[in-house]
Amino acid sequence: MAETTHAHAEHDDHDHKPHGWRRWVFATNHKDIGTMYLVFSCIMFFTGGLFAMTIRAELFKPGLQIVDAGVFNSLTTMHGLVMIFGAIMPAWVGLANWMIPIQIGAPDMALPRLNNLSFWILPFAFVLLLSSWLVPGSAPAGGWTMYPPLTLQLGASFPMLIFAIHMMGISSILGAINVVVTIMNLRAPGMTLMRMPLFVWTWLITAFLLIAVMPVLAGAVTMMLTDHFFGTSFFNAAGGGDPVMFQHIFWFFGHPEVYIMILPGFGVISEIIPAFSRKPLFGYEAMVYATASIAFLSFIVWAHHMFTVGLPLSALLFFMFATMLIAVPTGVKVFNWTATMWRGSLSFEPPMLFSLAFLFLFTIGGFSGLMLALVPADFQYQDTYFVVAHFHYVLVSGSAFAIMAAVYYWLPKWVGRMYDMRLATWHFWLSAIFFNVLFFPQHFLGLAGMPRRIPDYAVQFADWNMVSSIGGFVFGLSQLLFPYIIWKCVRSGKRVEGTRAWEGARGLEWELPSPAPYHSWTTPPTEAMIARGAEH
């Protein structure tokens, strides 16, 4: 008699796990590492949020009231760096760690120790970055884009910034490599590429983007470092270098980075909308190809961030049209999500509410992006609050709302308990309403000519700034509900019966018990389970 036991060897359900601090410091379990990423991201979200609230408090009325101009510049710089590299990206990596192995039927990530390393680099990177507030010259103040020559004039915080960026980059690369190898090599038998959930697909494409662009960022900041300390002149015009070249190279990284923060959100929304419409996703394959197209196009549009630096006309035209081209695959996605809801049996639980907010608000951000893509219009909008409004519509709704939707969708699977639906609905409405109160007036301010990154402004901008700040305070404070809802759910939420927390949910994660066992898929999922999840 021959019995075959794959790597997922059969055995009894032993949910034993290490305890105490060693469980977290030496963690190799994908769920533990995912949890650490998400907790870290939450801490960074509130740290970056604190910087944002201080910015809005300063801008509540004209004049300098709370901070001086130097600190204000540091606040805007650190807000950007912390939110992008500390809050959004780690949140997506955390969700990837939690969900990808479960969704493809793998017992864990392909390289668990590398996974541990990639997480533990992050806290050190951010301790280094945030401690730059304490050094002479205070924290970096040249903007998150780190343009030379301004950033080269920073004080003692300059090498700390560069080293922190390197560490964040290494962490991202290790995470991306792990995700790629896991998806390519650890899919359960029967889980073909075109059966993978869209969250897995979008993360696979995101990981490719990360692998492609992170060396570019590493190269750029290293060149700044050598310009500062070793007498090179990569970006120093006096030595034959070109500061504008930094902008090219930075945005060659920076624009794909925008999609790195948004594509996994597309995946999450593609999971949630079908679940709460009780219909399969409309146009699964089109969604995959649209995601790949967006990723490809993200490499050829970088110069739309720098239309005003003096590019040749042909370059302006190329980058304008290439940018507009992104609207096509993005439109396919928006159409497919809408078509999925069409004649569906819709219900509006918090994950669906956040997904719908994503759909509306991200589309508004997309439209203002189209306006910015028009070269003649961009000459007016460049470096105004219109740009600030645009990228917050894209990133807060496209990333932060999608992350919240994902947490509200999968939290019952993670902890086996349901959260307080009423509080979560309050969290949604406060977020959605005051997000608009916060950012929509910034369109008006930008169109009226208010520049970004200024601590003081002319009195004609006072009214909308006050409205925006009020929106900012309520939006920021309402986010405190989010960790409270999670904490309350973990402590005393009602237990989830059965494997599915949501009636319309599909996918391998919903075949596992709730909460998901510490070691999941120790026996591989059956063909029937995979087929049920892949009914596109």
């Binding site: 021959a2 017992p107 792990n178 190269g219 070691h519």
Partner: protein
């Protein structure tokens, strides 16, 4: 100690890692990734931004190592065959195959906890001063499950539980 049973069909357990990526697929994937990344880095180097190249090279080395480490699993397998009298373990990898045979009556299964949480547990079959490690490519949990199963089938030293009574 149980009385010897009639000779029965041997129990055979094959442990092999699951790999969804073929070697050809991995080569195409890695080649494509290298081509893309080095083209980008090369173009930037031509424009004078040569420090991007070493970072791209280091990263591709890391991707290559990660793929190699993950793909090395596909060549490994361990076949454990239990008869009334023997326990044989055939370990195969890409280059070689090794057969170790123990007397079932005197063999024992041991699962050793690691000295540090950074290291994995070790599962061995031992007898007469010889030992053979099993399932090093499994997760700790899977190794634990395999250990329990083998302990039921092989029994302790000086035990030979009937294979007819083995758990399904």
């Amino acid at each position: 100690m149980q009385a010897p049973q009639h000779t029965r069909q041997p129990v055979r357990i094959v442990i092999c890692p699951n790999c969804s990526l073929s070697l050809r697929g991995a080569a195409i994937f890695f080649g494509g990734l290298c081509l893309f990344c080095f083209t980008l880095a090369g173009l930037l180097a031509i424009k004078g931004m040569w420090p991007v190249l070493p970072f791209a090279g280091l990263e591709m080395l890391l991707v290559g190592w990660a793929l190699h480490a993950s793909l090395a699993r596909r060549f490994r397998s361990e076949i454990i065959t239990l008869t009334d009298s023997d326990v044989s373990v055939e370990s195969r990898d890409r280059a070689r195959s090794r057969l170790t045979v123990f007397q079932r009556h005197w063999a024992q299964v041991k699962l050793r906890r690691p000295a540090s949480r950074l290291h994995p547990s070790r599962l061995t079959i031992e007898s007469h001063g010889r030992q053979c490690e099993l399932g090093s490519f499994l997760t700790d949990e899977e190794r634990f499950g395999l250990a329990l199963r083998l302990q039921r089938l092989i029994g302790r030293v000086n035990e030979s539980p009937s294979l007819a009574l083995r758990p399904k």
